[in-house]
Amino acid sequence: EPEVTQTPSHQVTQMGQEVILRCVPISNHLYFYWYRQILGQKVEFLVSFYNNEISEKSEIFDDQFSVERPDGSNFTLKIRSTKLEDSAMYFCAIRPGTFSRETQYFGPGTRLLVL
């Protein structure tokens, strides 16, 4: 099973501050995804990233969010000006295959708390 690590594991921030969440897949992958899970609720798709650009994004992924692969390995999610409702668990996921025949493997998550 492909390994995905995420940093930090926990982050507490003040409302209005910027946060950057990082995802580090152990090996090269083509497909990257960010999802979030508000406490006790379902997992929600945020954005997919393929071939170094955004391929699809949800309504949640507004102008406050951005993603990039700054150095070809790390995959980051930036929230420019956090709101209270951004408090959630954020999961990075990767799909290892060239074709969509494999599952998505999820990282351990970053728990974000906005105060």
Partner: protein, 114 residues
């Protein structure tokens, strides 16, 4: 908009009993996934169902997919306490141009009691 509905949302079982979790979805898709989540943890992939009639089994869990009925089931046989967790089904959006984003159900919180 694709909707994914799971039921039940909460399930309390006795050890040794059998039960089925249902996952209905609202639009055409031939790819469905089941994940397990322990409290405070990430999502662990259990099954990938890629075609109509697909059936997969691992230990006490068996998953199936009926794409015509837009229904997947996760059957638990002779439940044990270790199966206590939240189980999510997720349907893949695979329309032209989509890169396989997953739409999740609300999850079924399973508690297995001795």
């Amino acid at each position: 908009e694709l909707k994914v509905e799971q039921n039940p949302l909460f399930l309390s079982m006795q050890e040794g009993k059998n039960y089925t979790i249902y996952c209905n979805y609202s639009t055409t898709s031939d790819r469905l996934y089941w994940y397990r989540q322990d409290p405070g943890k990430s999502l662990e992939s259990l099954f990938v169902l890629l075609s109509n009639g697909a059936v997969k089994q691992e230990g006490r869990l068996m998953a199936s997919l009926d794409t015509k009925a837009r229904l997947s089931t996760l059957h638990i046989t002779a439940a044990v306490h270790d199966l206590s967790a939240t189980y999510f089904c997720a349907v893949e959006l695979n329309y032209g141009g989509s890169q396989g984003n997953l739409i999740f159900g609300k999850g079924t919180k399973l508690s297995v009691k001795p």
